[in-house]
Symmetry: C2
DNA sequence: CGGTATCCCCCGCGATACTG
DNA sequence: CAGTATCGCGGGGGATACCG
């Protein structure tokens, strides 16, 4: 948070934005989380005290407004107009990341995070008007996250939740998948059909539910970002494309 | 540079971009600096060893390419295609900064940086085809930068330089200005005419040169960014606007 | 649940000196 | 000029315990 000693608008903005964890906290706020614990679920590796500190800094900078919670205890955190305008920066940063980073190293795979993201963007309107429970069984989960291997997504008309313990309700659908493949799917790097065909993802449930599932799932906001143009595949490809 | 442990493209990009000093180093590279010392002039408060380290990190991340310098010793640093695409991020960040930060605190005023920026964006085509020397005398310079109070801008058809010592040539124009006002002018927060009118900036030279000077000077790339709409002045203004 | 407070360690970074 | 190497410190941040 110390100054860069420059009047340049890039420098002044970077003093706020380019602090460790801050872009992720902003991403969470921009995605619609307002409660401390929800923010923390989206950025689980930040320590709670540091999250507090970052929220205070953002408040001091006029990015975040802290309000007493309407219901229950604690506070709620809202972006100000200035904070909301970081959306363009976060989006551009994410677009860059989608185009130029390798995102499927084992160290970055996190089933909790994936499900937390998924539940945020579900097409709730397409669900039947009753409780739907989906169990996920992931293969290829990094050790740190391998608590039990099963996760539940509970979708009710007015509430969604991710559980790491069996909520006890009847399961409508079991999704068995390689975590890397599921993450690629989410990020638009793998198609649903080819994942099913190659056995990377398998669905187990009524035909109706299995067919509906792909329509329930929205993909990451960055799934549709163009990938960089291939470095022109030298000779073979060009030749191959030529009429013979 | 440690991982955030998230597959999210925002997180992966932030691991690279949201490191201390990195946005400023990228800004310099994007502005067309390639030599180590030029980069350092644009980010003078970073230590040379840390600048080296950041450039290495950017190289490892595939953002920067290091080449043996064509002339003279040392290396030159060029952005790769991936690096060039950070332009959109840096621009959005700067636009945010232009709209929402206070940039004229004394701690941020820096005459060297201001002149370094100015020389970078001069309208060289509008200069007469000979050497032109401009002397700047700034008032209100923070202590740390108050080396002598005078700076020279030397413009030759094929070379521009900023000096802190008298280069010895005849001076064509003397610009006397309050440093804060000059910075505001550069950032589009103050008009040339009103600055002259109010005595914040004074020109001393031939009539021809004085009239040409404003056309030589380009402004910051962010000077034309819209300022945020005023928070609607509550009651008085509304009432005032009503037909009576 | 929604944080605070405290301790303490590590390493990011500045300072300085050195090199080709 | 364009860096590299080394040292030492300060504080950023993790771990843990505590509170309303």
């Amino acid at each position: 948070m110390t100054s860069y000693g420059q009047f340049c608008p890039v420098a002044k903005a970077a003093e706020i934005f380019a602090e460790r964890w801050t872009p992720l906290v902003l991403r969470e706020l921009l995605s619609g989380s307002h409660r401390f614990n929800d923010l923390h679920r989206g950025v689980p590796l930040i320590s709670r005290s540091l999250l507090t500190q970052r929220l205070r800094q953002l408040e001091d900078a006029g990015i975040v407004e802290r309000r007493a919670a309407a219901r229950a205890g604690g506070s709620e955190y809202y972006l100000t107009a200035a904070g909301e305008e970081f959306r363009a920066v976060v989006m551009k940063l994410g677009e860059w990341g989608q185009r130029w980073t390798r995102r499927f190293e084992s160290i970055d795979l996190d089933p909790n995070l994936l499900l937390w993201d998924m539940q945020r963007w579900l097409n709730l309107k397409r669900f039947p008007p009753r409780r739907v429970v989906i169990r996920f069984e992931f293969r290829g989960v990094p050790r740190v996250h391998r608590t039990c291997g099963r996760w539940w997504l509970m979708v009710e008309p007015d509430a969604v939740d991710v559980c790491i313990k069996d909520p006890g309700f009847e399961v409508d659908l079991v999704v068995t998948a390689d975590l890397g493949a599921m993450t690629k799917l989410w990020l638009g790097d793998l198609g649903f059909r080819s994942a099913l065909r190659d056995g990377l993802i398998a669905l187990e449930g009524s035909r109706e539910i299995c067919e509906a599932f792909p329509t329930w799932l929205a993909l990451s906001p960055f799934a549709t970002v163009d990938r960089p143009a291939e470095s022109p595949a030298p000779h073979a490809a060009a030749t191959h494309a030529e009429p013979s």
